[in-house]
C-alpha cells in the first residue's frame, strides 16, 4: 500500500475565470449589502446573543443577525490562510495549494441502488461502509463523505454510525456532513482522534473536516453553527455548504442565485469567525436549478456548470479553498444523460480550478447512491485528470524528432523503444468498450455500467483498507454506544 497516491487534476495557471472581475466585484458588493440589510436568520437565541456581542446587529423578534460591513470585513481577516486536510493512511493528504483538484465521494443518499438487484432501496450502515471501501480503493478519490445514511440507526446517533463506517473502511480524509449538534460534533472529533492517535494528533493532522449547511434562503439553524464552533475547539475545519435552488430558494437569475449562494457561505463563515475567531474553514456549495415544470432540483445543465465555475472563482476572491458540487447527475441510471452531465461537470470543476470536487457516486440529483456510478465517476475524473496534464512536455524526448527521423516517411512507430517507453502514459479506459463490434455482440452488448458493477463487486471482495490502530475500532464503537446511552431515548 505504500505506493498509493491520489489522482488529481492539474490546475491551469491561472484557472479559467467564468466571470469578469467586475461581475465578481458586483456579486461581492451585493453580498455585503444582503448581509448588512437583510441579514441571516439564526434559530438560536444563545448564538444570536454571542453574535450580537461580537458586533452583529440582532433583532431578537425575527431571529435576525445583520452584519455591518466593517464587522464583515473584520471577521473575514481572522480566517487562517491554510487548510491542512490530512489522511490517516500515509501519503494521501489533501494538499490544497491551487495547483491541483481532488474528487470526493458524494454523500448522504437516503437510498441506494442495490448492487445485486439493481433496484432502489433505503440505505443502511452497510451501504455507508461499502461506498467508503470502494472510495478508499479508487485512486481517483481523494476524500470521502458519508456516501449513504445509516437509516436503521437512531436519529441522534446516525451521523456517528456513518462516521464509524467511514473510519473502519478508509484511511483517506473524511468530511463529516451531518454532525449538526455540538454533541454530535464533539463525539465525531473524539472518534477521529482515536483513529489518528489522540486529540493532539488530530489537531496537528486533521483527518476529519466537516461542513454545515444553511437552509436557503439565508437561514442557519442553531445546532450547525454550534457544531462548527465545537469542531473548531478540536482543530477540525468546518466549511459552509449551501444548496440554494435557482427559481425556488434563490432568485431566477444566475447572478441573483450567486448572491444568495455567496451570502449564505460568507454569512456562515463570518458567523463562524465571530464565534470562533481563527477557525479553519472553506467555501462550499452545491447550488442548482429548479425544474420549471415539476419544481424538482435538476443537478445538471448549463446553470449548474456556470455555478460550479463561479463558486471556484468567488472562493478565490475571498482567499478561501473551494468545495464544489460536481457530478451528481439528475439521471436515474448511469446512462447518456449521466455521462453528459457528469462529463461536462467534471470538466467545469477542473478548468475553473475547484479545489475539492464533491462528488462521485450519486444519481437522481444526489438522492440515490450507486456503487457502479461511483466507479464510473472515478473513471470520468481520471479522464479529466489526464486531459488536465495537457501535452505534458516539449523537451527533445517528448518532441521525438530523432524517432521521427529513424522511422522515416511511410514507416510506423509501433516497435520503437520510444513507443515502448512512453506507451503507458497513454490514457487507458477500464469502463469504455474499445474492442470490436463482434466482441461486443458476442458478450451480450455490455454497457459501461455492467463493467462498473463487476468492478465494484471485485473491490468489495478484495480490498483491504489501511488498518486502524490496535483497539481503536473498539474504542470508537464504545464512543458511539456511550453517545447512545446519553442522547438516545429508550424506544
Amino acid at each position: 500500500m505504500a505506493d498509493r497516491e491520489i489522482r488529481t487534476v492539474t490546475h491551469r495557471t491561472p484557472p479559467l475565470d467564468i466571470m469578469p472581475d467586475e461581475a465578481v466585484a458586483a456579486i461581492r458588493d451585493a453580498t455585503t449589502e444582503v448581509l448588512e440589510r437583510t441579514g441571516i436568520e439564526v434559530r438560536s437565541r444563545a448564538i444570536l446573543a454571542q453574535l450580537g456581542a461580537a458586533g452583529a446587529v440582532i433583532d431578537e423578534e425575527t431571529g435576525r443577525a445583520r452584519f455591518p460591513r466593517e464587522v464583515q470585513a473584520g471577521a473575514l481577516t481572522t480566517v487562517p490562510p491554510d487548510l491542512p486536510l490530512a489522511s490517516r493512511e500515509p501519503g494521501l493528504d489533501i494538499v490544497l495549494d491551487g495547483t491541483r483538484g481532488y474528487l470526493g465521494v458524494d454523500g448522504n443518499a437516503a437510498e441506494v441502488v442495490d448492487l445485486d438487484t439493481d433496484q432502489r432501496r433505503a440505505s443502511s450502515k452497510a451501504d455507508v461502509a461499502a461506498g467508503t471501501l470502494i472510495g478508499d480503493a479508487l485512486p481517483q478519490i481523494g476524500y470521502i463523505w458519508q456516501p449513504a445514511v445509516s437509516r436503521e440507526m437512531p436519529v441522534p446517533s446516525e451521523p456517528l454510525h456513518n462516521l464509524e463506517a467511514n473510519l473502519n473502511n478508509t484511511g483517506k480524509h473524511i468530511v463529516m456532513m451531518t454532525a449538526v449538534t455540538p454533541e454530535q460534533a464533539e463525539a465525531s472529533a473524539e472518534m477521529a482522534a482515536v483513529a489518528v492517535g489522540g486529540a493532539t494528533a488530530l489537531r496537528e493532522r486533521p483527518i476529519l473536516s466537516a461542513f454545515q449547511c444553511s437552509v436557503s434562503p439565508l437561514v442557519y439553524d442553531g445546532g450547525p453553527l454550534a457544531a462548527a464552533v465545537e469542531f473548531a475547539k478540536a482543530g477540525v475545519p468546518s466549511g459552509f455548504m449551501v444548496m440554494p435552488i435557482l427559481g425556488a430558494t434563490a432568485p431566477i437569475t444566475r447572478a441573483g442565485t450567486m448572491v444568495v449562494n455567496n451570502a449564505e457561505v460568507i454569512g456562515g463563515v463570518i458567523a463562524h469567525q465571530l464565534l470562533a475567531p481563527g477557525a479553519r474553514t472553506f467555501y462550499a456549495s452545491a447550488v442548482t436549478t429548479m425544474d420549471l415544470w415539476s419544481g424538482a432540483a435538476n443537478c445538471g445543465g448549463p446553470e449548474d456548470l456556470v455555478f460550479q465555475m463561479a463558486n471556484a472563482q468567488l472562493a478565490r476572491a475571498y482567499g478561501l479553498r473551494s468545495m464544489v458540487g460536481t457530478f451528481a447527475t439528475g439521471s436515474k441510471t448511469s446512462d447518456w444523460q449521466g455521462g453528459v452531465e457528469n462529463g461536462l461537470s467534471g470538466f467545469a470543476s477542473w478548468i475553473s480550478g475547484v479545489d475539492m470536487a464533491s462528488g462521485a457516486g450519486l444519481l437522481y440529483a444526489a438522492r440515490v447512491f450507486s456503487a457502479a456510478q461511483l466507479i464510473l465517476d472515478a473513471e470520468l475524473w481520471d479522464l479529466v485528470c489526464s486531459t488536465s496534464e495537457g501535452v505534458r512536455g516539449w523537451d527533445a524526448e517528448s518532441l521525438a524528432v530523432d524517432v521521427i527521423d529513424a522511422v522515416q516517411p511511410g514507416g510506423h512507430f509501433l516497435d520503437q523503444d520510444h513507443t515502448l517507453t512512453h506507451m503507458r502514459e497513454v490514457w487507458q479506459s477500464k469502463m469504455f468498450h474499445r474492442g470490436n463490434w463482434e466482441d461486443w455482440e458476442a458478450n451480450g452488448r455490455p454497457v459501461s455500467k455492467d463493467r462498473a458493477v463487476e468492478r465494484a463487486r471485485e473491490i468489495l471482495e478484495t480490498h483491504t483498507p489501511y488498518p486502524l490502530p490496535d483497539g481503536a475500532a473498539d474504542t470508537i464503537r464504545a464512543i458511539v454506544e456511550r453517545f447512545e446511552d446519553e442522547h438516545v431515548e429508550a424506544a
Binding site: 437510498e111 433505503a122 439553524d221 415544470w293
Partner: protein, 217 residues
C-alpha cells in the same frame, strides 16, 4: 354582473396579474354579482384552464404558484360575500399541510399547496417545524379530508411516523387520509408507516389526493 369583468378575472388569474384580478373581483362584487358564480364560473374555470395549460407544458410551476397566490387573495374578497349570502363553498376537498417537527425545508410542501389550490382544494398550511400536537389540534378543529406531511431530511422523515402513531392514538387516523412526501420519502416508507398516499412531486400529489377522495383526475 358584467361578463367583461368575469373574463378579466379569468385572464388575470391565468396570467397572475394581481392588479387586474383584484380590480375585477372588486368590480364584480360592487356590481352585486353572485359570489357563487364568481367562484365557479370565473375563478374555478380559470384555475382549471391553468391546470390544463400546465399539464401541456404551456406554463411553468412558478406561474401556477403565482396564480394560486392571487386566487387566495381574490377568494379572501369573495368569501365574506359568499358567507353573508348564506352560500356554501364548493371545494374538491379539505387539506391540511405541514412540514414536520425539526424540519425547516418547506419548499416542496408550498409547491404542493399551490398545486392543490389550483385543483380546487381548500388548503390550510400549518407551516414548517410543526409540532405534532399542532397537527392533531388542526385535524380535530378543521376536520380535513387529507393531512399532508413533508420532510426533507433523513433525520426528520421518522417524524411522519410519529404523527401517524399520534393520530392513531387519538382516534383520528381513521377520520382522515394521510399523505407523505419529501426527497427521502418513497412508497415503501409510506407503506411501512401506514400512510394512505405518497407522491414523488407536487403535480403527482394532486393526482393522488384526488384519487384518495374518489374525485375524477
Amino acid at each position: 354582473m358584467s361578463e367583461e369583468h368575469m373574463e378579466q378575472l379569468r385572464q388575470a388569474l391565468i396570467k397572475a396579474d394581481r392588479e387586474s384580478g383584484l380590480a375585477a373581483t372588486e368590480a364584480l362584487l360592487a356590481e352585486g354579482a353572485d359570489p357563487v358564480i364568481i367562484l365557479q364560473d370565473a375563478m374555478a374555470v380559470a384555475m382549471f384552464t391553468l391546470g390544463a395549460m400546465w399539464s401541456r407544458g404551456e406554463v411553468f410551476l412558478p406561474e401556477v404558484v403565482a396564480s394560486a397566490t392571487l386566487f387566495k387573495m381574490c377568494n379572501d374578497l369573495v368569501e365574506p360575500a359568499l358567507l353573508a349570502a348564506g352560500g356554501e363553498k364548493q371545494i374538491t376537498g379539505k387539506v391540511i399541510l405541514a412540514t414536520v417537527k425539526g424540519d425547516l425545508h418547506d419548499l416542496g410542501k408550498n409547491m404542493v399547496g399551490a398545486m392543490l389550490k389550483t385543483a380546487g382544494f381548500e388548503v390550510t398550511d400549518l407551516g414548517k417545524d410543526t409540532p405534532t400536537q399542532k397537527i392533531l389540534d388542526a385535524v380535530r378543529e378543521l376536520e380535513p379530508d387529507i393531512v399532508g406531511m413533508s420532510a426533507l431530511l433523513t433525520t426528520t422523515v421518522p417524524q411522519q411516523k410519529v404523527v401517524i402513531e399520534a393520530l392513531k392514538k387519538e382516534g383520528l387516523f381513521d377520520k382522515v387520509k394521510v399523505m407523505v412526501g419529501g426527497a427521502p420519502v418513497t412508497q415503501e416508507w409510506a407503506d411501512e408507516i401506514g400512510a394512505d398516499g405518497f407522491a414523488p412531486d407536487a403535480p403527482e400529489a394532486v393526482s393522488r389526493a384526488k384519487a384518495l377522495l374518489g374525485v375524477a383526475v
